[in-house]
């Protein structure tokens, strides 16, 4: 195994990791909002439902959730899984899991906005909807960026859990190469790749934070 062929194989695996990463964010970042609002709902049934959802997702291992999402159709309905794409199950599991965490971050952000602002908005004749979309939400987004960045970086590393249902992402490729050639090199190289990936993620989050800090 030459060094270059190893890097090539790892990059192939990295593309799978990146795919999981982006699709998870595509689902979880927006989904976190309805979950947060549901959790804060004054209707006890709605808030109870989302409270339970968040509680289960946070209280069980992501690995178990991946297994559950992939095998559930078979376990409950005896449906054969030969046409159920593993990547889809992975992204669904990751998306639901991260949405729960994002929801709590968003909720914290929303609650951190001073109640005086709501009162001021009402005094100006804004509806609740207008108040939320124009006053609360923009400030929330700004405030939650550092906490969201934390989760996003964790997500990069969590992609390795996808092998639980046999999705061969980068870490799995690294381990397979390590086994085939009895060498630690692929694992070290994978670590470097994760670091570079996260370096860019952190960089992007920082840029975003700067751009949003319009009050200096």
């Amino acid at each position: 195994m030459t060094f270059w062929s190893m890097l090539q194989e790892l990059l192939g695996g990295l593309s799978v990791s990146v795919e999981i990463f982006f699709f998870t964010l595509l689902i979880a970042l927006p989904l976190g909002f309805p979950v947060a609002l549901g959790r804060m709902s004054s209707n006890w049934a709605v808030s109870g439902f989302f409270r339970l959802f968040i509680s289960i997702v946070r209280g069980t291992p992501l690995m178990l959730q991946i297994i559950f999402v992939y095998f559930a159709p078979y376990i409950f309905f005896k449906m054969p899984l030969s046409h159920y794409p593993r990547l889809l199950a992975t992204v669904l599991a990751f998306g639901l899991n991260y949405a729960a965490y994002f929801a709590e971050i968003y909720r914290g952000g929303i609650l951190s906005i001073d109640v005086g602002q709501r009162e001021a908005a009402r005094a100006l004749g804004m509806s609740r909807r207008q108040t939320f979309l124009r006053i609360i939400l923009p400030q929330t987004i700004k405030r939650v960026i550092p906490a969201v960045g934390n989760e996003v970086i964790t997500l990069v590393k969590d992609t390795s859990l996808a092998f639980t249902i046999a999705v061969t992402e980068m870490f799995t490729i690294a381990r397979q190469l390590s086994s085939a050639h009895t060498s630690m090199m692929p694992l070290i190289a994978a670590g470097v790749f994760y670091y570079i990936f996260n370096y860019f993620v952190a960089f992007a989050m920082e840029k975003l934070e700067k751009r949003l800090s319009y009050y200096g």
């Binding site: 699709f23 078979y74 054969p80 030969s82 397979q176 086994s179 085939a180």
Partner: protein
């Protein structure tokens, strides 16, 4: 327009992720589940998965006109993978003993023995000197079951200081190399491969923990597929391909049951 600009990339994304590119062109797929941390039976070489067992499976598919799909799986999830139809069989130095009731097996095609690997400079020379030592095994393997309390080789296992269960063989051998465990119990084919990869580092004890045979594991009750695969496998063995592959991957030809 705005909705379209948002939905279009989403739709592209969803088709990508659903793997809708996976054409169902009427060709039957034969998905082999295996542990890719298991050279020389199944492992990654370049961009492909190869090995004694995978090459045999590939040959069966060529003969039957099936599309060969090598699917590395998480060894702990193999039963779910098989029962749910995600894979068609487990073909990967798959020991039959102790699992007879859980799968529909092909006939045994290779004799295997479980041996003990120690470091070349270790003071351990036989099973008696394993007493009070830490021994590593792979998770969910017959040898792990046999050495544990209540197993067939409990007599041996109970003399150890501890049995460490590892997720894969590579880690086991690495830990042996680094001194985290004193010895590892593993399949003779894998042991030989590792001694060949890292010459002079390890030594194999003469005694054998247990003898066993490899078979191809199918979902319980799936005798149709089993019979089809087995018939093709026998033809392949008759033509001498199995012996050829054994030579290629350093597996003792004497160990072949089907020839």
């Amino acid at each position: 327009m705005k909705a379209f600009t948002i939905l279009a990339p989403l739709a592209v994304a969803m088709t990508m992720i659903c793997g809708c590119g996976q054409e169902d062109d009427g060709v039957r797929r034969f998905t082999v589940g295996f542990d890719a941390d298991f050279p020389p039976y199944g492992f990654k070489e370049g961009s492909e998965y190869k090995g004694f067992d995978l090459d045999l499976a590939r040959a069966v598919c060529e003969r039957k006109g099936w599309k060969f799909v090598a699917n590395p799986i998480n060894w702990d999830a193999k039963d779910m993978e098989l029962n749910s139809g995600s894979i068609d069989c487990i073909w990967n130095g798959f020991t039959m003993q102790g699992r007879e009731d859980a799968y529909t097996f092909s006939s045994a095609y290779v004799d295997n023995s479980q041996v003990v690997l120690v470091k070349a400079d270790s003071a351990i020379n036989d099973f008696a000197s394993l007493a009070g030592k830490v021994v590593g095994v792979q998770t969910d393997t017959p040898v792990a079951k046999a050495l544990a309390s209540g197993g067939d080789r409990q007599d041996l296992g109970s003399t150890f200081k501890a049995i460490v269960v590892e997720p894969n063989y590579n880690q086991l051998v690495n830990e042996l190399d680094m001194g985290a465990v004193d010895a590892v119990a593993l399949d003779v084919g894998v042991a030989k491969r590792k001694m060949c990869d890292l010459p002079g580092k390890f030594r194999m004890l003469d005694e054998i923990v247990m003898k066993e045979t490899y078979g191809i594991g199918f979902k319980k009750g799936n005798t149709t597929l089993r019979d089809e695969v087995e018939a093709a496998l026998r033809e392949i063995a008759n033509e001498g391909l199995m012996a050829e592959l054994a030579r290629k991957y350093g597996i003792d030809e004497q160990a072949l049951i089907l020839k």
